[in-house]
């Protein structure tokens, strides 16, 4: 079976610090893999290595069956990957619409970008209403919507979502998770990084728990023991 993302014995180092130590990770086609773990467990480093902005020290990263271990970020994005990063990282000094235009101009097809932008602003009505506002003036939840919409501008087949619920009000968290399930139903494969293990396991087909940069547990959510999940929340570096 072809996988959306297949990582084998990935190592990521920052100078002397070994943030990720030989992990294996897989996202099935049109499935959701939850990547769990405490702060500093190596989740974000893994995600950044997949996008190519942080170099892979050793191991391999295959995206839709192609080896993309040493590829540049633009090639990885063109291969169908998009990211909604930790902390959202929307461009605060650009308007909502400019954030989307920029994402579309980089990776999307120019002829479909405008239509896609319109349909995304219908899907996320708050972004349509605020499209001329500076993105920095949006609330946290609205910024998260913008981060997701911006990722969708490149029409990705594999979406990396890093802590999409962090710092959001409970209704917003529900809204974000509803979108995640919607996207999966549309056939997008998702790697979901979450500190909120309970929520992530509700939607995930497969889960990997990291601790100190290593895989502490992996398997279907139903097969993870309470102890595994406890590790994901509390076993920090």
């Amino acid at each position: 079976m072809e996988t959306a993302l297949d990582i084998k014995s990935l190592d990521v180092r920052y100078g002397p610090v070994r943030a990720v130590r030989g992990i294996d990770l897989m996202v099935p086609m049109a499935g959701i893999t939850a990547l769990l773990g405490a702060n500093g467990a190596g989740k974000t480093s893994t995600v950044m290595a997949i996008t190519g902005v942080v170099p892979v020290t050793s191991g391999t990263v295959s995206i839709f069956g192609r080896d993309m271990t040493a590829a540049a970020p633009d090639a990885i994005i063109r291969a169908g990957v998009a990211i909604s990063p930790e902390g959202r990282r929307i461009f605060a000094s650009l308007t909502v619409e400019e954030n989307l235009i920029l994402a579309g101009s980089a990776a999307g097809a120019p002829e479909t970008a405008a239509a896609l932008r319109v349909s995304l602003m219908e899907r996320f009505p708050i972004l349509g209403e605020r499209r001329r506002q500076l993105a920095g003036l949006l609330s946290g939840g609205e910024q998260q919507m913008l981060a997701v919409a911006r990722a969708l501008m490149s029409e990705p087949r594999l979406l990396l979502m890093d802590e999409p619920s962090l710092g959001l009000a409970p209704q917003m968290v529900d809204a974000v998770f509803a979108i995640i399930e919607e996207l999966r139903n549309e056939g997008i494969s998702i790697l979901l990084v979450e500190q909120n293990a309970a929520l992530a396991l509700e939607v995930a087909d497969h889960a990997v728990v990291l601790a100190n940069g290593e895989v502490a547990a992996a398997g279907a959510p139903a097969n993870l023991t309470g102890e595994d999940i406890l590790k994901s929340a509390y076993l920090a570096a």
């Binding site: 633009d74 994005i77 461009f91 605060a92 000094s93 980089a106």
Partner: protein
């Protein structure tokens, strides 16, 4: 009144040069975290471009275009040859690289062209004056203000309206995120150097047109002032760099015009003292980067 108006025109003219140089420094710094000490040599090279074009018999306006083109090419060549290899290095390594580039170019100018100033003779009408409401106003400062304002407006338009402009504003905010959207880093960096080279070229044109000569260290002092302007405006802030440039220009012209003779040797100290005083009140600069301020 007459004197005041003339000094205001001088201040805007000088401030405009500093503003364009400071903006070029700020655009590159905001994207690649490089404080480019070789920026002065980009300007100097533009000056030599004018000199050589005139020596080959180009008409003055064509020679000025050649000068701007020369500065643009120098900026791009610098990025390709020296700074691309150092991409992602820490600020100190980048700074030392730019010192090396600066020194190499200075020696090449000295040995390849001349260590002494080479004259450029523009038409006499350029250094004339005209009458406005009974006052004599210099042609060169007036043209230089117009050129500066045109350049800055065009650049603002590009930054606000075009997709590469959006990418540059976004890169100034979060370059890594921009790369994660699939934007090619090399393209944005090259364009930022091209813009800084273009602005340095325009500055070189105005500078040489007013002084009538080019020498190997021509770019050093104006770029030094432009550095001060970028710090004053808020390092990495594009609008801050422009504001800082005009403030430094204004302080310089005012101190030159109105300080008593006994104090005038301390002019630079007084200008820098004023800059320090402003920074004590606003440590992040006049218009700091990262507060959502638009370029």
């Amino acid at each position: 009144m007459d004197l005041l108006l003339q000094q205001i025109i001088n201040a805007l003219s000088l401030g405009g040069i500093y503003a364009m140089l400071a903006l070029g420094l700020a655009i590159v710094f905001s994207i690649v975290r490089l404080i480019n000490f070789a920026h002065g040599e980009i300007m100097t090279f533009g000056g030599y471009g004018i000199f050589l074009a005139m020596a080959f018999g180009f008409p003055p306006l064509a020679a000025l275009t050649v000068g701007i083109g020369a500065a643009l090419m120098m900026a791009l060549a610098m990025e390709r040859a020296a700074f691309r290899a150092m991409r992602g290095a820490d600020v100190v390594s980048l700074l030392i690289t730019s010192f090396a580039v600066s020194e190499i170019l200075k020696v090449l100018f000295q040995n390849g062209i001349s260590a002494r100033p080479v004259p450029i003779s523009f038409p006499a009408s350029w250094s004339g004056t005209y009458q406005l409401a009974g006052m004599n106003i210099g042609v060169a400062p007036t043209v230089s203000i117009l050129v500066t304002l045109t350049s800055l407006s065009l650049l603002t338009l590009v930054l606000r309206r075009t997709s590469i402009g959006m990418a540059m504003r976004a890169a100034a905010e979060d370059f890594e995120m921009l790369r994660m959207l699939g934007v090619r880093a090399n393209r944005v960096v090259a364009v930022s150097f091209a813009v800084s080279g273009l602005l340095a070229g325009v500055a070189a044109v105005i500078w040489t047109a007013q002084r009538g000569s080019v020498d190997p260290v021509m770019g050093f002092f104006p770029v030094l002032k432009a550095f001060i302007a970028t710090v004053l405006g808020g390092l990495g802030s594009l609008s801050g760099a422009v504001a800082g440039g005009f403030v430094v220009g204004l302080l310089e012209v005012l101190t030159q015009a109105f300080l008593p003779d006994g104090v005038s040797p301390y002019r630079d100290a007084i200008v820098l003292g004023a800059v320090i005083a402003i920074l004590l009140v606003r440590p992040d600069g006049l218009l700091p980067a990262g507060d959502g301020s638009r370029s």
